[in-house]
Structure formats: structure tokens, C-alpha cells
């Protein structure tokens, strides 16, 4: 039972980490607190569902469509909704507040479209729902695949941000947006690309989630909350922080559900969230700025 809990905890945690990395990009670099983030995830989940059930396209191939679509959507949303807010914002704090209000509205647009299109029922599809035996416990193959995909996307993003000049420039904007233009970085363009990249990751997360979970048009909020908790717990804008906090959250939730009571998972989530913030107010890997 221990190994089983550990494995499903890793699957859940990997998904949280994947989803949170996108949000931390959007918040850390573009300074947009995207409350419609969970809806972007669920939209991608529905997209994967439609592609699977009507076109017979398996979700892994579906990623090739969903991720670029998410990226493009993020790029357009930033251009249409955020650029005017950025232009009028006096400082980053006021941009944050404006973006919260704007994306709160966007949340209901996304949700409304999904409710009209798909209704309010629980949706799921059966893909790779075959048992696999790992370390003596059985696990659905789609969960194993979900974990692998989370690792691939997380690793890819990490390499992109640390090993390429372009990625280093994005991190520089997160660290010191005031100084970034001095080395020739167009901060607005970097923010737009980071927002688009974050939306692409939300889409990836949505497809991965749809492979092994049921979802409804209104379950986006849950993912926004979880992603937000992971981002804050790990330290805003910190990729490694999001990764470890995501895994911790997934493991804790699964262990509490397995050994104590499934009804206590949410309580456990907020307990460790509180504990981490009391211990390290800037998050696990965050640094308090002066």
C-alpha cells in the first residue's frame, strides 16, 4: 500500500508541478496573476476529449495540437487584454491588481463557453486504462504516462530556461525587470512570450489531466487554487520551487487520502501551505526582496 500511495502521489504531484510551472511563468515574468488559468487547463482537457472521441486522436498526439493552440491563445489574450493594462499601469503592483480583475472576467467567459458547449456533466474518456505492475503494485498505464509527460515537460522547460540565452533573458526579466532593457531585452515582448509559454503549459497540463481524471466545465477553479498554492509554496517565479512544492502537495494529498481519510485532503493541502508559509514566508525557494 505504501508503494501504491507513493506512486499515485507522484503522479498527482507531477501533474500539479507541471500545471504550476505555467502559472509561475505567467506570474513571475509577466506579472499577470491569471485567475482564468484553471479554465485554460480544462479547455485543453475538453479539446483532448473531443479529439479522442470524435477524431480518434490519442492524447499524446493531441498534445501536438493542444500545446501550440494554448501558446497561440495566450499570445492573443496577452495582446488583446493585457497590453492595454500594461500600458496604463503605473507600476507592477497596479498591473497585478488590474490583471486579477481582468482574468477574473476571462474565467467566466471560458467557463460559459464550455458550459454551453459541453454542459455541466462530468466528462472522461478511457485511454490506456490497462493495469501496469510497477514495484509490485498495479497502476493504470495512463497514470504512468501522465507522470512521464510531466517529467518530460518539466525537464524541457527547465533546460529551456537555464541553458538557452532566450530562457536566461526570461529569468532576468523575473529577477530585475528594471534592468532588463539595459541589456537589450524588450520586457513587454518577454512578458508576452512568457504568458504564452505559460498558457502552452496549461494546455499540456489539461491534456495530461484528461487522461486519468474526470473533469467538468466548472472544475477549473480547483486547478487555479492548487497551482496558486504550489507557486506560492515554492516561491514565486521559481521553477524548482514549483516542481518540489507540486510533488510535496501531491504526495501529502495522496498519503492523507490513503492512510487517514479522503475527506481530509483539502484540509491537509491548506495545513502544509500554512506550515510552509509560517516557516518560510517567501516560499521554499523564494527570497524575500528588500
Amino acid at each position: 500500500m505504501l508503494v501504491a500511495a507513493l506512486l499515485s502521489g507522484l503522479v498527482l504531484g507531477g501533474t500539479y508541478a507541471l500545471v504550476a510551472m505555467g502559472l509561475t511563468l505567467q506570474y513571475g515574468i509577466a506579472r499577470i496573476m491569471n485567475l482564468a488559468y484553471g479554465e485554460m487547463i480544462i479547455s485543453a482537457a475538453f479539446l483532448a476529449y473531443v479529439m479522442f472521441s470524435t477524431l480518434g486522436l490519442n492524447p499524446v498526439a493531441g498534445l501536438l495540437i493542444a500545446v501550440p493552440t494554448g501558446f497561440a491563445l495566450g499570445y492573443v489574450v496577452y495582446g488583446a487584454m493585457m497590453t492595454p493594462l500594461v500600458a496604463r499601469a503605473r507600476d507592477r503592483a497596479s498591473l497585478e491588481i488590474d490583471s486579477i480583475l481582468a482574468t477574473f472576467g476571462l474565467l467566466f467567459v471560458f467557463q460559459g463557453v464550455m458550459l454551453v458547449t459541453f454542459g455541466a456533466n462530468f466528462t472522461s474518456y478511457s485511454y490506456l486504462n490497462d493495469p501496469v505492475t510497477i514495484f509490485g503494485t498495479t497502476l493504470a498505464a495512463n497514470r504512468v504516462l501522465a507522470l512521464i509527460l510531466a517529467v518530460v515537460f518539466g525537464g524541457g522547460l527547465y533546460l529551456l530556461l537555464t541553458r538557452t540565452l532566450w530562457g536566461t533573458a526570461l529569468r532576468a526579466v523575473a529577477v530585475n525587470p528594471g534592468a532588463a532593457p539595459l541589456v537589450g531585452i524588450d520586457v513587454n515582448r518577454a512578458a508576452r512570450l512568457a504568458f504564452a509559454l505559460g498558457s502552452g503549459l496549461a494546455a499540456a497540463g489539461g491534456v495530461v489531466i484528461s487522461m486519468y481524471q474526470t473533469f467538468t466545465a466548472t472544475s477549473g477553479v480547483v486547478f487555479t487554487m492548487k497551482a496558486l498554492i504550489v507557486v506560492i509554496m515554492g516561491g514565486v517565479g521559481n521553477l524548482i520551487g514549483a516542481l518540489s512544492a507540486g510533488l510535496i502537495l501531491g504526495l501529502v494529498e495522496t498519503f492523507v487520502a490513503t492512510y487517514i481519510d479522503p475527506g481530509l485532503t483539502l484540509a491537509a493541502t491548506y495545513t502544509i501551505f500554512l506550515a510552509v508559509l509560517l516557516w518560510r514566508p517567501a516560499g521554499l525557494f523564494g527570497r524575500l526582496t528588500r
Binding site: T168, V175, P181, G184
Partner: protein, 237 residues
């Protein structure tokens, strides 16, 4: 090479700069002297594109008008600024800071040569290239800031109070390095409170007071100027 004419700037009702005109020739080292609040930093920021000057200003560089250009384009034109407080990327390593210095398109192809020069100029940075910048001393961070600016292959390097908060010994080394940068043929525009040091490496100087340029002369003449001595060098009145 750099021509600034009629540059004014106001923050709300406060006039920071009032029709300032200066010029810096090719390979020339120019220093701007003046008390706090004379508008020296505002002038450098306006040239670098970090703040927008009022209508009517003309900033041209290499016969190209750069007035009102956003900062990231000014860098591409060949002007680099080491801002007051250094503006380094503290959570990144020395190596990453320098690599970003060559982010501008004009600098990318020659990034390796530029890095060689920076490491030669500041051997300490080579030793500490994997270190996070926010764990370094003020003097070392200033080296990172100057090195990063040099990575963009500027023709004009502007420095805003480079010696601020540094120990006297470190300041001496810093100006020695600036001398070597100057020998490379770069033009330097320096705003500095350490008047003696900056005049010693400068060709020319401007006196700034209350948002205006009050005077201009060669560095050696300014060094001997009684008014300058009274105001900045602590000579008896």
C-alpha cells in the same frame, strides 16, 4: 558622436532637467559634476531611454536620432548604461549576467571576444563566474555591471555614480579599469561624486546645477578651477 540638445524633463511639476545640451566625441571621456539633485542621473536615464524627455529634445548618436527610443533599442544603437545601484541580475550567476550583456543583436556574434576582454579586465569575475551575483561584494557587483555593459559592444559607455558605496581602495582599482576601457577607444560619459578621480581620467567636464549645465571646460582646467575646487574638492574658501 553623442549630441544632446535642448533636453528637458519634468516629473509632475518638478523640473529635473532644463534645456540641457551636451556632447561627447568619439573615444572621448566626459564627466558630469554636480551636487545631488542636479539632474545628472535623469540626464543619463533620458539618453538611455529609461525615461522619456519632454517634447523638443534631440538626442542623436552617430548621426542617428535616438530621442525617445525605448531602452532596449538604445542598446542596439551602441549606448550602454551602468545605472546607479548597478542593476545587476542578483539571482543569476556572473556568467549568466555577462551572457545577457551580449543579448543585443549587435553583440551576439562577438560574445566570446567580449567575454575574453571582460575576464582580462576583471580576472576576479573569471574566478567567480559560477557565483550568484547577490552573494558578491559591492565592488565585485560593480565589476559585473560594467562587464555586462561592455558585453553589448557599446561605442559609448555611460556610468552613473560607479564609485558610490565602495571602499577607497576599490575605487582606485575601478578607475584604473575605466582607464583601460578608455584606451580601447570607447567613449565614456561618467556621472561621479569622486571629482578628483573622475577628472583624472577625463578629457572634458560639465558642471551641472539645478537641472542646467552651468559650465564646460577641459578636465585639467576644471581641476585648477577655483569654483570647482571650492564646490567639490574641499579647498578652503
Amino acid at each position: 558622436m553623442l549630441e544632446v540638445a535642448d533636453l528637458s524633463l519634468h516629473y509632475g511639476r518638478h523640473v529635473a532637467l532644463n534645456r540641457v545640451s551636451i556632447r561627447v566625441g568619439k573615444g572621448e571621456t566626459v564627466v558630469i559634476l554636480g551636487a545631488n539633485g542636479a539632474g545628472k542621473s535623469s540626464l543619463l536615464k533620458s539618453i538611455a531611454g529609461l525615461t522619456k524627455p519632454d517634447e523638443g529634445a534631440i538626442v542623436s548618436f552617430d548621426r542617428r536620432v535616438v530621442t525617445g527610443m525605448p531602452a532596449h533599442q538604445v542598446v542596439e544603437a551602441g549606448i550602454a548604461l551602468v545605472p546607479e545601484g548597478r542593476g545587476v541580475f542578483g539571482d543569476l550567476t556572473v556568467e549568466e549576467n555577462l551572457a545577457l550583456g551580449a543579448y543585443a543583436r549587435r553583440a551576439r556574434a562577438d560574445a566570446n571576444d567580449s567575454r575574453e576582454f571582460v575576464y582580462d579586465l576583471f580576472p576576479k569575475l573569471k574566478e567567480r563566474r559560477a557565483q550568484y551575483v547577490n552573494t558578491m561584494s559591492g565592488g565585485e557587483q560593480q565589476m559585473v555591471a560594467i562587464g555586462r555593459a561592455l558585453m553589448s559592444k557599446p561605442q559609448l559607455l555611460m556610468l552613473d555614480e560607479p564609485s558610490l558605496g565602495l571602499a577607497p581602495l576599490v575605487v582606485g582599482e575601478l578607475f584604473k579599469s575605466l582607464g583601460r576601457i578608455r584606451e580601447r577607444g570607447l567613449a565614456l560619459l561618467i556621472v561621479e561624486q569622486n571629482v578628483k578621480m573622475s577628472l583624472s581620467i577625463a578629457d572634458r567636464g560639465y558642471l551641472a546645477e539645478a537641472g542646467r549645465i552651468g559650465g564646460e571646460n577641459t578636465a585639467s582646467a576644471l581641476m585648477g578651477d577655483a569654483a570647482v575646487q571650492r564646490a567639490f574638492l574641499g579647498a578652503p574658501r
